[in-house]
Assembly symmetry: D2
Homo-oligomer: 343 residues x 4
Amino acid sequence: MNKLGTVNSDIGVGIIGAGLQGGRRAPVLKQFPGNKLVMTADIRVEIAQQLAEIAGGVATKRWEDIIENPDIDVVMVCTPPNLHVIMSVAAMNHGKHVLCEKPLAQTTKEAEEMISAARRNKVTLKCGFNHRHHPGIKKAKEWFDSGTIGEIDFVRCVYGIGGRPGYEKEWRANPNIVSGGQLMEQGIHAIDLFRWFLGDFSEITGFTSTLYWDIDPLEDNAFALFRTAKGQVASLHSSLTQWKNVFNLEIFGHEGYIIVDGLGGGYGTEKATLGKKAFFEPFKDETTEFRGGDDSWSEEWKEFLSAIREKREPLGNGFDGLEAIRLTNAVYQSSSTGSTVKL
Amino acid sequence: MNKLGTVNSDIGVGIIGAGLQGGRRAPVLKQFPGNKLVMTADIRVEIAQQLAEIAGGVATKRWEDIIENPDIDVVMVCTPPNLHVIMSVAAMNHGKHVLCEKPLAQTTKEAEEMISAARRNKVTLKCGFNHRHHPGIKKAKEWFDSGTIGEIDFVRCVYGIGGRPGYEKEWRANPNIVSGGQLMEQGIHAIDLFRWFLGDFSEITGFTSTLYWDIDPLEDNAFALFRTAKGQVASLHSSLTQWKNVFNLEIFGHEGYIIVDGLGGGYGTEKATLGKKAFFEPFKDETTEFRGGDDSWSEEWKEFLSAIREKREPLGNGFDGLEAIRLTNAVYQSSSTGSTVKL
Amino acid sequence: MNKLGTVNSDIGVGIIGAGLQGGRRAPVLKQFPGNKLVMTADIRVEIAQQLAEIAGGVATKRWEDIIENPDIDVVMVCTPPNLHVIMSVAAMNHGKHVLCEKPLAQTTKEAEEMISAARRNKVTLKCGFNHRHHPGIKKAKEWFDSGTIGEIDFVRCVYGIGGRPGYEKEWRANPNIVSGGQLMEQGIHAIDLFRWFLGDFSEITGFTSTLYWDIDPLEDNAFALFRTAKGQVASLHSSLTQWKNVFNLEIFGHEGYIIVDGLGGGYGTEKATLGKKAFFEPFKDETTEFRGGDDSWSEEWKEFLSAIREKREPLGNGFDGLEAIRLTNAVYQSSSTGSTVKL
Amino acid sequence: MNKLGTVNSDIGVGIIGAGLQGGRRAPVLKQFPGNKLVMTADIRVEIAQQLAEIAGGVATKRWEDIIENPDIDVVMVCTPPNLHVIMSVAAMNHGKHVLCEKPLAQTTKEAEEMISAARRNKVTLKCGFNHRHHPGIKKAKEWFDSGTIGEIDFVRCVYGIGGRPGYEKEWRANPNIVSGGQLMEQGIHAIDLFRWFLGDFSEITGFTSTLYWDIDPLEDNAFALFRTAKGQVASLHSSLTQWKNVFNLEIFGHEGYIIVDGLGGGYGTEKATLGKKAFFEPFKDETTEFRGGDDSWSEEWKEFLSAIREKREPLGNGFDGLEAIRLTNAVYQSSSTGSTVKL
C-alpha cells in the first residue's frame, strides 16, 4: 500500500453491496483524483451494473472477485450486517483495507474477529460512522474540545424517521440478517457519538418497544440511558415512528451548551448552536447553518485514506464499532431483564 | 359552601405562604368578581403584608389564623412541601376546600392522609398541577382525545431551567424541607401530564445525577423512563442545568404527532403543533401560537371553583398528586438500586 | 423642578387620557419610588377612575385640572392626536414637562408650536417613541454604533397587525381626529427608527392603499421608500391587514447585518440577531432572546426623567416627533401625486 | 415535431452555453427517458466538453452547429442576455423550440422579436422562469387559486444573495452584456411571480442603489413597488448585499395569507405556510416543508415539453418574459426620474 501517498493517490477500490449505502459511497470517489472504482459486487448483478455505469469499473455477482482482485487496495463492505464479518475478514486476509458499514457486525464476537484480522494483516479497518464527519457534529466536537462548554453534565439525542410502507418486509426487519431494530440500525450512530464526547460508560438502562411496525422481536422505538462513572448521563431516543425526520444532539456542560440539529436533506438544514451559561443576561446563542449538501461521506473517506497513509487508527475504528454494538446490546438486555447493566 | 353558586360567587380565600407561588396565585382572584382574598399568612409577615397590599385582605404571621377564620371558604397552601400535610389537613378539618401546591406532600403516606381528610370532611382537594391548564397543553389534550393521532406510541418531555446563583442555599435544596430535587420540584408536572395522556404505568427506570449544583443528595438532573403495560414509553428529562429554559412535550401516535413547545414568559412563546403521518407527502404540520400571557393560573382556579360547586373531583386531584409522588419516588429508587421498578 | 434629583425623586405626574396608552403608561410609575400619579383626566371619567384605583391619585373629567395642579410636575398626554397640541402647549405654558404620544401632532405646524412652547417655557418635551427603548432595538443600536456592521447599505422594516372588527368605527379611523392611517398610527415608529439609524432622508416615494378596512381616505397599508443623499434606502411596509402580528427590522451594512424580530407579547418573543459577512463560510449569526415582558415603557420613562434632570434633549424629542410627521406626510404626498418627494 | 408524443418521447436537445445555467439544466434530461442531449456549444469549448461528458452528446465551439443540427428539436439558450435574441431567433427560424434563460432579452424590443419569431415559425418559446415550478410556489398558487385567502391585499417579496468576491468582474457586472443589475438578474423572478398572482400593474415606483459592489451603473439593491388598477401593491427588494441568502414571498388576502420561505439549498429549506384570518383566536397556520432537492428544473422542463406537445403556450412564455423586462425597466426609470411610471 505504499502507493497511498495522498488521499488523491492512485488506489483501486472495490465495493461489495450496491444497494442504498453502496450507492451513496461510490460517487464520492470521483472527488478524489486517482481513486478508482475497480469493481462492484452484488448478487443482484443488475444493480451492480447500474452502479458501475454511474461510478465506473465493472460489475460482478461474486463478492470473492473483489477480494481476489490485485488491482483493489481498499474494499467497502456495504452489505447487510450478517455478511460483514465473513467479507471483511476475507478482504483483510487478502491485504485489503476495509471500510465496513455500521453496525460493524452482528455480534461483539464477530467484531472482535474483524479487529483481530486487521491487526494480523496490518491493514486498516474502519466502521462507517459517517456522522462524526457531519459539519455540524465536527463543529460541536471542536467547540467541546476547546473547552467552550466545560465539563459535560449530560447529552441528549433524538434520532428518528418514520419508516416506509413495507418496512416489515425489508431485510432490516429480518432477525436472521440483523441483530437489532432501529437502535442497532440507526441509533448506533448516536451511541458512537456519545462515546466520542463522553468516553466509556459504566451503567446502561432502557426500554424498547414494538407498537407500530410488525417487526417484533425487533424494536421500532428504543429509549436508552447511559451513565459514566462520574455520573454524566447520555439519553437517546431512536425511533422508527417519528413521522417527521429528526436528528437532534444536545451537549450541556458546566459553562454552556452545544446543539446540532438536522443532517441536511430529509432531516432539515444542519445547524450547530453554541450558547454560554449566563445567569443575569437574556438567553443568547450563536448558530451556524450548513445549507449545502451532505459531505460527510467524502469527509469520512478522506479520513479513512489519511489513516491508511499515516498508518494510524481512523476516527470510528474497529474498536469503536465493537463498543457501539456492546452498548446497544446492553440496552436490549436491560429492557428485557429489568436490570441496569453494569459494564 | 352553598354560596359557591358560580365561579364568580362571593367566596372568601386565604393564602398560606406569600412567596413565589402565593404571589402568582393571589392576583388571579381579581379576575373573579365575588372572590375575595381575606387573609394571607407568612412567617415572614412583611411579605404577607406586601401581598395583601396588592391583592387585598389582611396579613398574619400565624397560618392558624386562616384555618380558623370563618370568612374563609377556600385555602391555598403555597408553602414548602414539608408543611403541606399539616396545613392542608387542618384546613380541611375546618371545612375549607384546599388547593395545595405540588408536590402534594413529602411522602405518599402524607398524600394519602390528605386525601382521607378531604373525603372525611367532604371538601375538595386539588393539587396545583397548573400545567394541565396551559393553552397549548389543553389544545394537545383536545387533539388527542378527538383521536387525531390515534393510539400513542411514545411521549417525550424535556423540561429544564438553569437555576440561579445561590440555589444551593434555597429551601428547594434543603432535604429536610423537600423530598426530591429537580424531578420532584418541576419534573413532576411532566409526570402528571404523562399520566393524563397515558394512564397508569407498570415499569419505571431512570438515572439521576448531581454534577453542577452543590445540592447532593438532591438531583440536578433526572432522566426517567415510564412504560405502560401495553409497552408505550414516556421519557422525561428534568434539568436544573438547562441554561436556556425549555419545555417541550411531544406525543407521537399511530397516525400523527402533537408537540407543545414553550410555556410563555421565560420558556418562550407557547406553541401547539399537530402533524399527521403521511408517507408519500412532504412533511406538513399546523401550529397555533399562544402569544399572550400565562393564563394557566386563572384557568386552574376556575376549574377548582367549578369542581367545588359541582361536587366533583377537579382536574389534578389529590389522587393525581399522590400518584405523581409515587412515580417520582420510583425513579429515585431505580436510579439508586439499578433495578427497574414494577408497580 | 429642582426636586428632580434622580429618576426616583418625588415628582408628581398627571395623565390626560385614560385609554389604551394611559393604561399602559400609568403602572410604570410604581417602579420609580418617589414618582406619584397625582391625577388622571378623561372625559369618560369612569375610566379615569378605574385607572386611579389601580395606579393611584384622583380622577377628573377636566384635563385643565391637571394643567392647573401645582403638585404635578410632569404631564403625559395620551389622548387622540387632534388634542395633542392644545393640551401639551397648555401644560408647558404652566411649566410642566410633557411626554406626548405619537404622532406628536396632526400637522408639522402644530408640532412646531409644541417645540416652541417647550423652548419658551424651558421645559422638556418628549414624543412617545417607546420603540427606541425596546431591548432588541437598543441592542441593535449598540451593535451598529460600535461599527460591527459597517456603513449601512439598506434598512427594511415590516410592521403590521390585523386590526379588529369595528376598527372602522374607532377614533383611529376618524379623519377629523387623526391625520393619517396605519402609517401615521403605527408605522411612524419605524420611520423614527429609520431616522435614528440613518439620519436625514432626501427623497421619499411610496404607495398607500385601502382595500380591506372601510376607512378611506385613511390607508390600511402603506409601502414607503426613503433614500438618503448617499443613496441608502430604507423600506417600510406598515399594515393593518397583517393577520399575524409582525415587527421585523433589518439593517444591512457593508460588513454584516442586524435583525430585530418581535416586540414581545402579541408580536412574539423579541430577538436581536447579528451576522457578519463571510463569503467563504457557512451562514452564521448570534441571537439574543428577550423573553420577559415589555419594559420599553419604563425605560422610556427613565430616559425622560433623566433628560429633565440633566436639562438635555431626550431620545425621541419634539424635533424627532416633528420629522416623523414630515416624512409620513411625504409618503402620502408621493402616493397621491405620483412623484418622488424631495426634502 | 410530431414525435413529441409524451414528455418522455425521443427528442434531441441542444444547449448553447455550458456555464452555471447550462450545467443546471443539462442533467435534468436524464430523468426523461427518450430525451437526449445531442450537442452542447460554448466558446469555451472545454467546459462544453465537460458538460458533454457528464450529460451526454458532443461538444462544439460554434453555437450555429446546434441551430443547424437536424437531430436537435429543442434548444436551451443559456448564454448571457446580450446573445439571447440572435441565438433564439436563429434557432426558431430553423424550426427549433426554444427555452431561453431570463431575462428573456436585453430590451423589450428584442423580446418582441423573439415572440414574433416563435409565432412565425409555429414553435414554442419559453422563458426560464423556473420559480413558477418550485414546490412551495406551486403550492402557494394552488392555495390562492382555490380562494383560500380571498382577494389579494398585498404581496411582499425579499430575494437576495451576498455575491462573491470578484463579482464586479463577472459578465453579470458588464453593462455591455446585461441590461440591468440585481433586479434584472434575479429580482425578475419575483416580478414574474407578482404578475402570476396579480396580473397587470398600472403604476411602478422604486429606488435602486449601488453602494457596496463596484458595478455602477448597475444596481446592487433595488426596491420596487408595483400597484394594480385596483390598488393592490406588490413590494420587492432584490439585493446583492444580503449576506445570508433569502427568498421570502408573502401574499396577503382578505381572508388569510400564504408565505413561501426558502428555495432549498443555499436559501434554506423551502416551506409553504397558510394562515387564515381569525380575529378572536390565537395565531395559527400550517406549514409544509419541502426538504428534498430542487426539482424546479425538471418540473419546468416537463411543462415545456407538455406545452410543445399540446401546442399551447407554456407557463412563463415569451410574453411573460417580455412583460417582466418592461416592469424592470419601469423601476429603473422611476428611480432615475423621480416619477411614478404609469403603464
